[in-house]
Symmetry: C2
Subunit: 380 residues, 2 copies
């Protein structure tokens, strides 16, 4: 899999962006996050490694005029890769060419402009640059609802990458967890998972490993130099990146044999996850799926002890994207969305969490992670 | 090498931060970039992988009161890892707890507060969050001069990591470039370099490979699926990450034998680089080092054709950090800085660029990259 899609993919995205601007009553948007400019132009890498000294900014108007502002030194590569053909360069390192962008917008008669202000988006420019743009514009609003409306729905070409990412993740999980031994540290296990995903062709890899009993209420992907002991649960959350798109998958193993209580909790969490997954389909909202999860957890007297703030989320160029599967999020679930489902309960027995990745189909969904939910036991 | 430093390292950094706030006449700073909160608290990973839904914010006052604001779900890990003991949690995903932070700052009587507004810093919160903080504060200034003043000077413990990162990078370059063959693509070469750095213990790896003649004016780390041909220069820019700290190193090889012109250009660039390196010492400014490079290039009729916007830069938790080695940057070079030197000329013969990493010592500097500057030839 190469990194760049065919031109048609970007042309289609730019068309949808224009339609969305018109529908939102915006004259233009200015986008600067590396993933977002890559999404619309095709210029960039699987992982964002651009220097903060050379921000890349796409100005796109509702009239269909697009201009891509990049540092002069990147022009040759941008010309080769970008589907946006109007390329403007700047020389000064460290800040966005706000004056040039404003001049472009004013020349196009743009008054209402969307910027990356909220909705989990981080602007790829400094706050001072965003201030400069705002001072020069008549009206500025947050562009995030519009961005997520587009990015939430995956095309066939995007789905193909996510499928490959999920397959590599599945394969590496099964191969590596079978080799798990006591004494290995969280960091060692994670490093091996990541290397093996790259070895199988991933363009990037992410993993998180939690061992031991003091593991409840522990999130956010930080691994330690702690060695796993006999009988302990090893929780693995991991994902390959293929062409920019992530898998986000979790399963658990026990070093030695699982206790009856560990098996019981894992089965309950897998049941609740399956109930949640069955609610991820057109016609439902993320709120309704979340309420179904809550009911299923209550029936089993399971506590959502991770406190992660959501039972699932969108998946794509980021490992966590909107929408959130949570009672306060009322996103309509639609065909082409890729969502995760991961209700979890973390007790002194370990971390019970069995994350599924699904793509929403016309009438339901399709599971992308094929690995069984049962605890892997290293002593057979 | 583990990821976390000893407590004393963080205590020392927090002390220096307090001193810098006092000196700058600021009552407090609020920092939210994942690298920055990791730098001061010790909570985080070698690579930043926190979810954008759960920003982490450190509020530090000139009176020495520090408060770390994190999502509730991360509390257990933060308590285990953070050198800042006052931990405040929030529940809502997606935005920073601006009200709680303002309450803390007001309770501490803070009026003048520094935020990440400029100076290549990107705030780890949304622009809307930064606006909320600004609306609630009497006076807000950019905290970046203060942040870079601290981060530019590396401690002994930081230098140890950078040395290890440079050693791994050197070793992998030499091992892999010897195996270079025509027909390999830029992406394949880069993937192997990265895997091999991880295999040797790096916590992260970055690489960029450029082949062929259409390679001038091509920067920013984007690799292609282009195969290298006989006689072509293969330019490699790469670096291992050890405990959060990067190497940033470049050399070149030729598939087959180098032409006399390729050898001549590489020697000239290596000479200019060496002259630039000799100017990186206490008593000089980055401007003076840049002017020495320009003079040396002019003498050899070399054009700085990359247009990268600087001859070198700082190195640390980011692969490119302030200061810039450039005539407009007048930073005083001081002991403990880690800087790169990379004047380059890119012609139809290839990309001639021989990046060195150095640490500034009491009276001069020490080279961290030990690999010879000469072009590797795969046909011996």
């Amino acid at each position: 899999v190469g990194i760049r899609f065919a031109d048609e993919e970007y042309e289609h995205r730019l068309e949808l962006l224009r339609d969305a601007l018109l529908e939102a009553g915006l004259d233009a948007a200015v986008l600067s996050d590396d993933r977002l400019t890559w999404y619309f132009t095709g210029f960039g890498s699987a992982a964002p490694i651009g220097s903060p000294a050379r921000p890349r900014l796409l100005a796109a108007t509702a009239a269909g005029e697009n201009a891509f502002f990049v540092h002069r030194s990147t022009r040759a590569t941008v010309e080769e890769m970008s589907a946006v053909r109007s390329i403007h360069t700047y020389d000064r390192l460290g800040s966005a060419p706000a004056d040039d962008i404003l001049e472009f917008l004013h020349r196009q008669g743009c008054r209402r402009v969307g910027l990356e202000l909220d909705g989990q988006l981080r602007a790829g420019m400094t706050v001072a640059d965003a201030d400069d743009l705002r001072h020069g514009l008549t009206e500025v609003t947050d562009v995030s609802p519009l961005v997520w409306q587009l990015r939430m729905i995956k095309s066939g070409a995007e789905l193909e990458r996510i499928r490959t990412a999920c397959r590599i993740t599945d394969e590496v999980y099964r191969a590596d967890l079978a080799r798990l031994r006591r004494g290995m540290t969280e960091r060692e296990i994670a490093a091996r998972l990541e290397r093996d995903m790259l070895e199988r062709g991933a363009h990037g890899a992410w993993s998180w490993v939690v061992t031991g009993q003091a593991q409840y209420h522990r999130v956010d992907g930080v691994v330690r130099d702690r060695a796993v002991e006999e009988g302990e649960l090893v929780f693995v959350d991991m994902g390959a990146n293929v062409g920019g798109y992530w898998a986000d998958f979790s399963r658990s193993a026990v070093v030695g044999r699982a206790s009856p209580e560990q098996k019981r909790l894992q089965e309950h969490v897998a049941d609740v996850t399956a109930i949640g997954v069955s609610e991820l389909r057109p016609g439902r909202t993320t709120r309704e799926a979340a309420l179904a999860v809550e009911e299923a957890m209550a029936e089993r007297e399971l506590v959502f002890s991770s406190g992660a703030g959501r039972y699932g989320h969108g998946l794509g160029l980021w490992t966590t994207e909107p929408p959130d599967v949570w009672p306060t999020d009322e996103t309509q679930i639609r065909e082409g969305m890729v969502l995760t489902m991961e209700p979890a309960t973390w007790t002194h027995e370990g971390m019970f969490h069995c994350e599924q990745n699904v793509v929403i189909t016309e009438h339901g969904n399709e599971l992308l992670s094929r690995t069984d939910w049962r605890l892997v036991e290293t002593a057979q």
